[in-house]
């Protein structure tokens, strides 16, 4: 056993409070512990940025889908069975040669869970939430992304009702690639806007 002591067990205060809430809510019939396990498993293993990568790759591959995604991202994304749980609307923001898009939630940590899974720690931390709006160019440089001075940066502030997905520029040299191949080039960070799409090897 790898515990740091061997006589009894210890629950840290947060773990104890979570157990207390679970006990109280289960006794009131408001939650089902089995359903809690299913939700955890879903978010840890089934929902993640591969979903979003498929959306982006399809948009690169299929101009009609790209057009739909631009007009009604909620419906276009739902057509791939990636459905938001909070009734939120989705908006896809397309990078161009002139404009780079960056997503933040200054309020708390709203994020397009259905296509990107749960946000990385830095997305939820105060420095990113405050600085992405004030100094987006500086923040991007810390991510290793230096944009030409003439490229405009547009920052999108997520809310509980509206979440954003960045569609990065399709890399050069990928003509004739399949959706599956293209999806491999699309990272989570590229869909938040803190990276470009990967380059073909």
């Amino acid at each position: 056993m790898s515990h740091d002591h061997d006589h009894d067990n210890e629950l840290d205060p947060f773990a104890a409070r979570v157990r207390a809430l679970e006990t109280i809510l289960t006794r009131k019939g408001l939650i089902d512990p089995a359903a809690i396990d299913v939700i955890v498993d879903t978010y840890e293993t089934k929902i993640g940025p591969r979903n979003g990568a498929r959306v982006v790759a399809k948009a690169w591959h299929d101009p009609d889908f790209a057009d739909w995604l631009r007009r009604d991202a909620t419906a276009a994304i739902e057509s791939l069975s990636y459905t938001g749980r909070q009734g939120e609307h989705m908006q896809a923001v397309f990078n161009t040669e002139d404009t780079h898009n960056l997503v933040v939630c200054t309020l708390c940590s709203c994020y397009p869970w259905s296509v990107l899974g749960l946000p990385p720690v830095w997305y939820k931390a105060p420095p990113y939430r405050s600085r992405a709006v004030i100094d987006p160019r500086g923040v991007l440089e810390e991510f290793g992304l230096t944009l030409p001075a003439e490229t405009k940066i547009r920052v999108w502030d997520s809310t509980a009702e509206l979440r954003y997905l960045v569609v990065p520029l399709r890399p050069e040299g990928t003509d004739g690639w399949s959706e599956e191949q293209l999806a491999e080039l699309v990272s989570r960070d590229a869909m938040i806007g803190t990276a470009r799409a990967g380059q073909p090897a």
Binding site: R17, L21, V40, Y43, Q86, C108, E184, S187
Partner: protein
């Protein structure tokens, strides 16, 4: 996945900022409880975002975000208390019962609430 990945993590940020989404099991459980309670219609997602925002805006939030789920839990407790679904004093009492149960449980055995020496019939 064994093939080299073309995608690049945020390599220039300090180490640890790209950690797994849940650092400890209680964080995953607290997260899932909010999703489950919202699914049951006990609060709107807007209400939740407002509660969470109020917590993460308080002074003293860690710059590295490691305390994010502590704020998440505080927001959940506050929302449940304000809606009369779980009173603060009941949560305090139940949390202490769980801590006593943990202490009384031999190492390696699952922690059960019944192991609390003061355990009584379920209220």
């Amino acid at each position: 996945m064994s093939r080299p990945e073309p995608k690049r993590a945020a390599a220039d940020l300090p180490a640890g900022l790209d950690a797994p989404v849940f650092a400890e099991p209680w964080q995953a459980e607290a997260f899932a409880m909010v999703v489950a309670l919202h699914d049951r219609g006990l609060f709107s997602w807007g209400e939740w975002a407002q509660a969470l925002s109020a917590e993460v805006k308080k002074p003293g939030a860690a710059a590295d975000g490691h305390d994010y789920y502590e704020h998440w839990l505080a927001a959940l407790e506050g929302l449940l208390a304000s809606k009369g679904l779980a009173a603060r004093q009941d949560v305090d009492a139940m949390a202490h019962a769980w801590e006593r149960a943990a202490h009384a449980t031999p190492h390696g055995k699952p922690i059960l609430l019944e192991n609390d020496p003061e355990f009584g019939p379920a209220r």
